[in-house]
Symmetry: C2
Subunit: 205 residues, 2 copies
């Protein structure tokens, strides 16, 4: 059975998995399931989205794995993308939990409220203002961390960098956040995009 | 230097770390930092809350580690609380990312809006109703998983079970969720509380 990824091409969570697969040079079958598509309905009906969300990875042995950051862990384990040293490894995961608890619910959610017409009714001025302020707070935490190290994984890029990059590099274009206020984050996005093996979100098939 | 934990005694995120430390029988220095306390202000001023939040663990070597689930990983790694097999390990982390992205922002947030008087003004009827519905959805995902296995880690309790237990076991008392609708989740809470080494939240010093 080939390594298979069900993903939503426009989603940052799905991009995480595809970006790491590109860096690792791993071959895989990609099943594109955009919101509202027949492919997404089929994936759910056939039990391939155990938590109701994408991306989902199916291993060569046929095991299903949900959650973008858990997929990064599974694919990255034993490679240069996951530090071996226990504290560095736990700090890498710490940034990924931060990403799911503090970053994604603000930066990705504000972008989705601006970009998906079906969500426009939920984009009240109060909510958008609160998300803007919270997002600038999150980007400020990242800015402070990048004043001390080039990468969230420490001395070299890790799955934490891939996790945080997914929604950060489109935070201004999609989310309306003011990236000029965060020069270290902007420079780190540039370093990520300059890595050999990098593939831009809109250059993926 | 002794293993040290800065934690907020009333917080589920802090309870996760203390519960695993109890199960592991690890000695540690506990610095209680309740919301608004001088101890919390001191922890922040002295740089011991790198992401501005608690819990934070300081290792014997003096390294600071934030994020409750990353602390569970660090402490649990190499013990029976973290599966070794790659897919089981990644699935354990998947539940912990789910906990931070789907569970905590709903179940813990609704509880905090009910229990902390300073948050009462944010507890509008619309918000409380939306959180109630979302929380029942999250508990439904857990109920479905527990129909297939006794533990979120698979065949034995793992750090995913500790992570999810922290805010689930108080979901009715603090959050107002209807646990009678989720018998498998209720039974799992009972199994967690019956484990040797278990310490109840309000029995911690």
């Amino acid at each position: 059975m080939s390594l298979t990824l069900w993903s939503m091409p426009s989603s940052g969570n799905s991009y995480k998995a595809r970006l790491l697969l590109a860096h690792l040079g791993r071959a895989y079958t990609h099943i594109a399931c955009e919101a509202g598509s027949e492919a997404l309905a089929r994936a759910k009906a056939e039990g391939n989205a155990p938590l109701g969300k994408l991306p989902v990875l199916r291993t060569e042995a046929g095991e299903l794995l949900p959650e973008s950051n858990a997929i990064l862990w599974y694919l990255g384990r034993g490679t240069d993308w996951v530090p071996e040293e226990p504290v560095a490894q736990a700090r890498t995961l710490a940034w990924m939990f931060f990403e799911q608890n503090q970053h994604e619910p603000v930066i990705a959610v504000r972008a989705s409220l601006r970009c998906y017409p079906e969500r426009a009714a939920q984009a009240t001025p109060e909510r958008m203002a609160a998300l803007l302020e919270a997002g600038h707070g999150v980007l400020g935490v990242m800015e402070a961390a990048l004043a001390r190290a080039d990468w969230f994984g420490g001395t070299r890029p890790s799955i934490a960098d891939i996790s945080l990059f997914a929604y950060t590099h489109t935070a201004e274009a999609r989310g309306g956040f003011e990236m000029a206020r965060f020069p270290a984050v902007t420079a780190w996005c540039g370093r990520m995009a300059a890595l050999p093996g990098h593939v831009a979100l809109d250059h993926l098939p």
